[in-house]
């Protein structure tokens, strides 16, 4: 018997490697022109994200002066570190870097992936959406790519005939069942879980077909790190997402700057994690201290570069744009 050969070869083609290099060069040219500073922040942190939808990877650190066995977490996003730079007066900044999310693997997911994240002090999320559109058009070299914006509420009202702010769980469940999401009656989900199911299974695949689609003003329960505000008499989270070719490509916020409110959200996240039996890691105290010192009003956004490359190269799987997938790492 011959042994099965060791899979040492790259998962990406040479063309895909070159496309990534070209993409990064264009991003850097775009931000150099716009006067945004490129920064680098650590991948390792003593604190971890609290968001119950994200799972952190951890490692151990033993260095002279600190002693043995410090548990360190791999960032799921550079957000906390970049906001510390902003609070210290960095001005507009961007970063291209790897982030890590445990438990995520599929055609559009990989446990380590590349994000472009940037912050614009003094801007609101509307203005940032314009810049996201400009950047994507520039790096894809598609200056005529159309752009549309629809609020989260209008999206659900128009396409599913329900108001995501008021519809109860039973009705969300019935909608999923009627729409043919197989076996949805057996699922045990909370309200946001049902909204996520409807969005990811029924709505997202049609978004961004031939144009950039921004979805904005999210339910307050899905604010994450966005500030809340009133719009047309209802409370909304100043958060947006960009879809292109049915793929969720970017997530942006008008950033929450209130340290007390941020801490309250962290603790609420930890409550959810505890209730679900998920690990509760240390909260980022440095980040909270930076907010208390004062984060300038700003808007920030993170954009998935691997997915952007998938679209640029028209490939069906993230594996085709990664030099060596995790199974060969």
């Amino acid at each position: 018997m011959t042994q099965s050969p060791i899979k040492w070869r790259p998962s990406a083609s040479l063309q895909a490697l070159q496309a990534r290099a070209a993409l990064y060069a264009r991003i850097r040219a775009f931000f150099a022109e716009a006067g945004v500073l490129e920064v680098e922040t650590p991948i390792l942190s003593r604190a971890a994200v609290t968001d119950p939808a994200l799972a952190s990877l951890a490692t151990r650190l033993a260095i002279p002066g600190l002693g043995d066995e410090h548990r360190m977490y791999l960032r799921t996003s550079p957000e906390f570190a970049m906001k510390r730079l902003l609070a210290a007066g960095s001005g507009p900044i961007y970063q291209i870097g790897k982030v890590f999310r445990d438990e995520e693997r599929g055609r559009f997911h990989h446990p380590e992936f590349s994000l472009l994240e940037w912050y614009r002090p003094g801007w609101d999320e509307k203005r940032l959406m314009d810049e996201v559109a400009a950047l994507v058009r520039y790096v894809l070299d598609r200056p005529d790519l159309a752009c549309e914006r629809i609020s989260y509420r209008a999206l659900f009202q128009e396409r599913l005939g329900l108001d995501p702010w008021t519809t109860d769980i039973t009705q969300l469940q019935a909608t999923a069942e009627q729409a043919g999401i197989a076996d949805s009656l057996r699922l045990d989900l909370d309200r946001d879980g049902w909204l996520d199911l409807l969005l990811s299974h029924l709505l997202a695949p049609d978004l961004g077909r031939g144009c950039l689609t921004f979805v904005y003003d999210y339910p307050p329960s899905q604010a994450a790190l966005a500030r809340l505000r009133k719009r047309d008499g209802i409370e909304v989270a100043a958060r947006f997402e960009l879809y292109l070719q049915g793929l969720e490509l970017a997530n942006g916020f008008n950033e929450l700057t209130d340290a007390a409110e941020q801490e309250r959200r962290f603790l609420a996240d930890l409550e959810v994690r505890r209730a679900r039996g998920q690990p509760c890691h240390p909260v980022d105290r440095c980040f909270l201290a930076a907010l208390a010192h004062g984060l300038p009003d700003c808007a920030g956004v993170a954009l998935g570069l691997d997915r952007l490359l998938m679209i640029a190269l028209d490939v069906p799987s993230i594996d085709a744009v990664l030099s060596l997938v995790i199974e060969r790492a």
Partner: protein, 191 residues
């Protein structure tokens, strides 16, 4: 009872759903960046062959189906049940006509088949990819016509009917691809 978490889902995994054994054909991971993760799977019912879709919340677990494939020799059938023998233990097993299904068209005594067992009992039978069977009835073809594309039906010893070239005669042996039910070649020797 063994179980699998959605993290273990992949093509070929055998799971129990609503009391029936299924095999996973495709597993798609669906997750909004800041939201609930799901596994959307296409599964085939191992009893009926029906393919359906299911959505699971990531992290959920499902019961494993005690299903595995084994090589068995077909012994005979008594018109009701089909008898097979395990090649290593010489243990005999009975399969229903339902479990044998389409394979009944192709298998002859002593053929080695792939028998899928569920909780130790035959669930389905897959015939050898190629079988050699005798033609028991076919119209006399035109002699010497060996190259033209014409074909005619021929009934085989197992009862199966396949299209064969015109030169094939009753009493001859032919090789058939059981995946497609198509004639492959004439076999000169019955070896």
């Amino acid at each position: 009872m063994a179980s699998y978490s959605t993290n273990e889902f992949k093509g070929g995994l055998k799971i129990m759903l609503d009391g029936e054994p299924y095999t996973i054909l495709e597993n798609e991971f669906v997750k909004p960046g800041k939201g609930q993760a799901f596994n959307r799977v296409r599964v085939r019912n191992l009893k009926t062959g029906r393919v359906i879709e299911k959505t699971f919340k990531s992290g959920d677990t499902v019961e494993a189906a005690d299903v595995h494939d084994t090589e068995m020799q077909y012994l005979y059938n008594d018109g009701n049940d089909w008898y097979f023998m395990d090649q290593t233990t010489y243990e005999q097993m009975t399969a229903s006509a339902e479990a044998v299904g389409e394979a009944a068209k192709w298998i002859k005594e002593q053929d080695i088949c792939k028998v899928t067992l569920w909780n130790g009992a035959p669930l389905s039978v897959e015939p050898p990819t190629f079988v050699v069977l005798e033609v028991v009835e076919t119209d006399p073809g035109v002699r010497g016509d060996t190259s033209s594309g014409g074909s005619k039906p021929a009934t085989l010893e197992t009862g199966a009917v396949v299209r064969v070239p015109l030169f094939i005669q009753t009493g001859e042996l032919i090789k058939v691809d059981t995946r497609t039910g198509e004639y492959v070649a004439r076999v000169k020797d019955s070896a």
